[in-house]
Symmetry: C2
Subunit: 126 residues, 2 copies
Amino acid sequence: VGNDDAIRETVERYLTTFTAGDRDGWLALFADDATLEDPVGSDPHRGREAIAGFWDASRQATGNITLRMVQGPNVTAAQCAFAMEAHAQIGDATMIVPTIDVMTFDADARITSQRAFWNPADVRPA
Amino acid sequence: VGNDDAIRETVERYLTTFTAGDRDGWLALFADDATLEDPVGSDPHRGREAIAGFWDASRQATGNITLRMVQGPNVTAAQCAFAMEAHAQIGDATMIVPTIDVMTFDADARITSQRAFWNPADVRPA
């Protein structure tokens, strides 16, 4: 159970930095060799530089994105899952993307892998 | 995207059969060599017989258990995740266990693996 609270803190900061557009603060939450697979089934981005590229592409595709926690994080065995809604501003519209993130962590509660479960068919207007 | 709907149907039946106490109906949703890791971090149960043993142990530990969907299933690449609440009757009390299940499926939309993210620290009375 050692660093469950540190993991919860990382997830909290994951949502707040992403929502605030704090690129550096968000990237600092990942281990150097972390992987990010978003959506699950796509080729994972490996390493912080590739993950930074994912951030930049996401921000070009949409305006502000607000992440709202729905359930969790459910932390167990240095891993966790949490359900959230991504509220993405696209032009004048806001679209809600129901998303579940699954993460693993190192001993310093940095993210070693992130996998995001979401499906375009579930996206709906706010 | 082929069998996304079949996977959603399997998840729906997973919740309804589990809630109804329909042991055989629930077990039929798994592939023969499926694994079940509940909670994540524990030794996985391998094969339908071992998974039946998990069912029996769960039912001995508690009375009725009602599974209520919170978000999902978010289906992608023949995998899915969903957030639910397990409402477990223990004596006169009902305890709520916030849980996120992550599953993989075969071509027939049978469950090939289940991993359940929950933490005793998050359990609360109803």
